[in-house]
């Protein structure tokens, strides 16, 4: 009786703390943005909203951002669908090698890839020089002032997320559902249209929204490509004068509203159907062998996709090792100097140190919050459960740049007791909070999946043998859950290291810069700047790569389920 009361009391206190945390660091900043968009000198006004909608430039940048989001979603879809089909349902030589290759793009944030891609695809870049050597006219590869480049880079970076998601959806499709349709005489097209698609789409939409919001609100890639005519860059440009001009708030609100609308739309489309059959998914014994002709076509597709996806990496590595690269197809000579610079340059060293510190703290905070929330969601019942679920998953719909803008607006220039939250004085606390809120959904989802996987009966078996709550937790739950916690933590750490939007907005002073902003700042410098930035990018690539390999080893196919806008 007393124990049950204590548990209920503890749950209530924790729920209250999480709610307060989300209220102060999510609801309040967003409320501040909404208020500042419509409120001036104590009066309600439509003036700024009207000003935004009447401004042709802003309308165009909004449309451009939407287009980037849509194009990236469509391209990643068309790349991932065949890939998922190949890897889930077919058996072919070199499958594991290609599986690794097509996931490689994830190891580098797109804005880092953009550093190198400019060297390859700019008007005087390697490819155009190659074309001119061949006597062919130059091509504007980056097109529309850089938009094509932004779309290409983001699509190449984000398609693995779409692929993982689509794969998870297809792999969990019970094969007997398809066989049942076959037995009624249905052909391949009918089975695809009436069975596979309706069951697969919820999972697809849940992943597509992550890709869309990511591309729609990405700040780093357009900045590096100097494509300024998009919403994220417009928001970035207006941070400095946010207190004198409320247009910035309206832009952020517009970005938030669009993200939320698309998020809700995807959530309604991805409402999962309850599968009642004992789903076995695709069994290895049912993998199909394919004809040699199909195999040739498939390898061609895999090779082209892998090569395209690896271009940004290759280009960044080339820049990082280049000693002299000017008006030549490839660097004239190579050096390790820039890597030495990455470990000795004051800005670079502080960037790496800051990122390691911030990401570690954010990850620790997320482990604590994620495990507790995951446990409550999986094991406890109550009206608060739904509220907690919605609250924790909400950051998926909120771009980092929006949250950071809200923080700057709410805390800049304000002195609070105990905790320094003024980003102009010390952005550490806000960066940790922002990172942890943004990445919390991933770790909660990973832990929740772990709890579901373990099943309550394992814990009940322990309790039936006389073990108390803490012993069951120590001896049964945590050991079984460890791979899921670790996977969620590694992923959280990796993504915190390369969080771009919030970092660029919140870290104002050079010595506070995390890696992302250091790379951006170094890239803007003349001389060795871009090369040292690329070297840092390569180091980051190695770090992120190791993190993803570890996560993948821990979670396997289930990794795709972490990159979802909703559970289904």
């Amino acid at each position: 009786m007393f124990r049950s009361f204590c548990q209920r009391f503890g749950t209530a206190v924790f729920f209250l703390c999480v709610t307060l945390f989300f209220f102060f660091f999510l609801a309040l900043p967003l409320g501040e943005i909404a208020l500042s968009s419509f409120w001036e000198n104590g009066h309600f006004t439509w003036a700024y909203v009207l000003a935004v909608f009447q401004n042709h430039g802003i309308r165009e940048s909004f449309a451009n951002s939407l287009l980037i989001g849509l194009f990236v979603t469509v391209i990643t879809t068309f790349l991932s669908l065949p890939l998922a089909y190949f890897f889930v349902w077919l058996d072919f030589p070199l499958k594991r090698l290609f599986q690794g290759l097509i996931l490689l793009p994830m190891v580098m944030p797109p804005f880092v890839g953009a550093l190198g891609m400019r060297y390859l695809f700019a008007r005087c870049g390697s490819f155009n020089l190659l074309l001119s050597h061949l006597g062919l006219p130059a091509v504007d590869f980056l097109g529309s002032g850089g938009m094509a480049g932004v779309v290409l880079l983001e699509a190449l970076h984000l398609y693995p997320i779409m692929y993982l998601n689509v794969t998870a959806s297809l792999a969990s499709l019970d094969e007997s559902l398809i066989e049942a349709a076959k037995m009624t005489g249905a052909g391949a097209f009918t089975i695809w249209r009436r069975i596979i698609l309706p069951l697969f789409l919820p999972g697809y939409f849940a992943g597509a929204i992550i890709v869309f919001i990511w591309a729609f609100t990405d700040l780093g890639t357009p900045l590096v490509f100097e494509f300024r005519n998009c919403l994220a860059v417009n928001v970035f440009d207006r941070v400095t004068d946010m207190h004198s001009n409320a247009v910035g708030y309206v832009l952020v609100l517009l970005m938030l509203a669009a993200s939320c609308v698309f998020f809700l739309l995807s959530k309604s489309l991805s409402k999962g159907v309850k599968v009642v059959s004992t789903s076995k998914g695709v069994q290895s014994s049912s993998l199909k062998k394919v004809s040699p002709a199909f195999l040739c076509g498939m390898y061609a597709f895999l090779l082209v996709t892998s090569l395209l996806a690896l271009l940004p990496h290759v280009s960044v590595i080339l820049v990082a090792f280049s000693d002299k690269w000017f008006m030549t197809v490839l660097p004239e000579s190579y050096t390790l100097r820039h890597f030495a610079g990455a470990f000795t340059h004051k800005l670079a060293v502080s960037g790496i140190r800051n990122s390691l510190f911030l990401s570690s703290f954010a990850t620790l905070l997320d482990i604590f919050l994620g495990v507790t929330i995951g446990y409550l969601l999986a094991r406890k019942k109550g009206l608060w459960r739904e509220a907690l679920d919605v609250m924790v998953m909400l950051p998926l719909a909120i771009p980092g740049i929006v949250l950071a803008f809200g923080y700057v607006s709410l805390f800049a220039g304000k002195n609070l007791p105990l905790l320094t939250l003024d980003p102009l004085k010390d952005p550490t606390a806000l960066l940790i909070i922002c990172y942890s809120i943004r990445r919390l959904p991933y770790i909660v989802r990973s832990v929740y999946a772990g709890f579901q996987h373990i099943g309550e009966s394992m814990e009940e078996a322990g309790r039936s043998l006389g073990a108390g709550f803490s012993r069951v937790l120590r001896k049964i739950t945590l050991p079984l859950l460890s791979s899921h916690i670790l996977a969620g933590a590694i992923l959280t750490f990796a993504f915190c290291m390369f969080e771009v939007g919030a970092t660029i907005l919140l870290a104002a002073r050079e010595w506070d810069y995390p890696i992302a902003k250091t790379i951006y700042a170094l890239n803007m410098r003349l001389g060795d700047g871009p090369c040292i930035a690329s070297a840092m990018g390569v180091i980051g690539m190695a770090l992120l790569g190791s993190c993803l390999v570890l996560t993948s080893a821990l979670l396997g196919r289930k990794m795709g389920e972490l990159f979802r806008g909703s559970s289904s």
Partner: protein, 354 residues
């Protein structure tokens, strides 16, 4: 439709799952494939359905060779073990899917679906989704979906294994009724011997991918053709023996309690002076008889009350022997000694292997 299986073989990674199987299922029969887990019965069902290709052998529907015909063109009904109901479709949509695929007219679809819903007693549940149904209702939807296309042959893959004991018993009755009412040929896979014995017209027992025996349930139970078949269907005691000679009344065997004559059609693989294994079912051991008749003495080790009968575990000839009596008909208790009279006419004997 008559189903003929001819020399079907299938291997996975060098391991033979089905080894040269041949048998025939007659039109309108409720035919059971039984055997322990991993014996190949589900593999054989998938081969019949066309979802799996055999490595060798042929399959005939009447006289038509369908070995190369894909599953979607065989026109069969298949009820999956996990039902495989499409979770995004209502009961009605699940059942009508096959008819729509065949391009049937709306009015005909409505008529057929309504009729089959009545047949499986699911009226009023048409608009529900599978998740909103009980296990038994889901099972009946799966059956209705397979039957509505009026297939000449329906395959059932352990369709009752996910149901609780009470529901399983009820659904057995339903299946028997539906089979009788539609008269369709059915091939039913199960490892539940009670299900097979109570429902089957005929059955095939598989063991390690090989066909042990085909026949009516009574025949398989009374005269199992191998010691495996004897032990798989019901309980039995195995006792050592020796074949002596074949006489007009049957085979003469030397048993631990003396000589016994076993009918010739109960003896398999007999050879003069060869070693034998005698199968003696518990119900064929009597606690009463004449001292002139062959009998032996045993010590009661355990007494287990099983409701209508009581099982007695006894010790004789250095081994455990199981016998049974009608509950309350004896006063034996562990430690007592008693006489047992084996019924030779009910025994079966096999050549001892190895």
């Amino acid at each position: 439709m008559r189903l003929r299986i001819e020399n079907i073989s299938k291997s996975y990674g060098g391991q033979k799952v089905l080894d040269d199987l041949s048998f025939t299922v007659e039109e309108g029969e409720l035919f059971f494939l039984i055997g322990s887990s991993g014996c190949g019965k589900s593999t054989l069902l998938r081969i019949i359905s066309g979802l799996l290709a055999p490595d060798g052998g042929r399959i005939f529907f009447d006289s038509r060779d369908v070995t190369e015909t894909p599953a979607e063109n065989r026109g069969l009904g298949l009820v999956f073990q996990n039902y495989a109901l499409w979770p995004h479709m209502t009961v009605w949509d699940n059942i009508s899917f096959g008819l729509e695929t065949r391009g049937e007219k709306r009015s005909l679809i409505k008529e057929k679906v309504s009729r089959i819903l009545g047949e499986v007693r699911l009226e009023g549940l048409e608009k529900r989704y599978p998740a909103e149904l009980s296990g038994g209702q889901q099972q009946r939807v799966a059956l209705a979906r397979a039957l509505v296309i009026e297939p000449p042959l329906v395959l059932l893959d352990e369709p009752l294994s996910n149901l609780d004991a009470g529901l399983r018993l009820e659904m057995r009755g339903e299946l028997r009724r539906i089979h009788k009412s539609l008269g369709v040929t059915m091939v039913y896979v199960t490892h539940d011997q009670k299900e097979a014995l109570s429902l089957a017209d005929r059955m095939a027992l598989l063991h390690n991918g090989k066909l042990e025996q085909v026949g009516a349930p009574y025949e398989l139970y009374k005269t199992p053709s191998s010691s495996y078949a004897a032990s798989f269907l019901g309980e039995t005691n195995f006792l050592p023996g020796t074949f002596k000679a074949e006489t007009a009344e049957g085979w003469l065997l030397e048993t631990p309690w003396g000589e016994a004559k076993i009918p010739s059609d109960h003896v398999f693989g007999a050879r003069e002076k060869g070693e034998a294994v005698i199968s003696l079912r518990p119900e064929n051991l009597s606690f009463q008889g004449s001292l002139d008749d062959p009998c032996f003495e045993a010590e009661v080790l355990e007494k287990n009350f099983l409701g209508d009968i009581t099982q007695l575990v006894l010790k004789a000839f250095g081994q455990k022997i199981t016998a049974e009596t009608v509950s309350g008909a004896d006063r034996l208790k562990p430690g007592d000694r008693t006489r047992l009279w084996p019924k030779a006419a009910e025994m079966t004997a096999y050549k001892r292997e190895g």
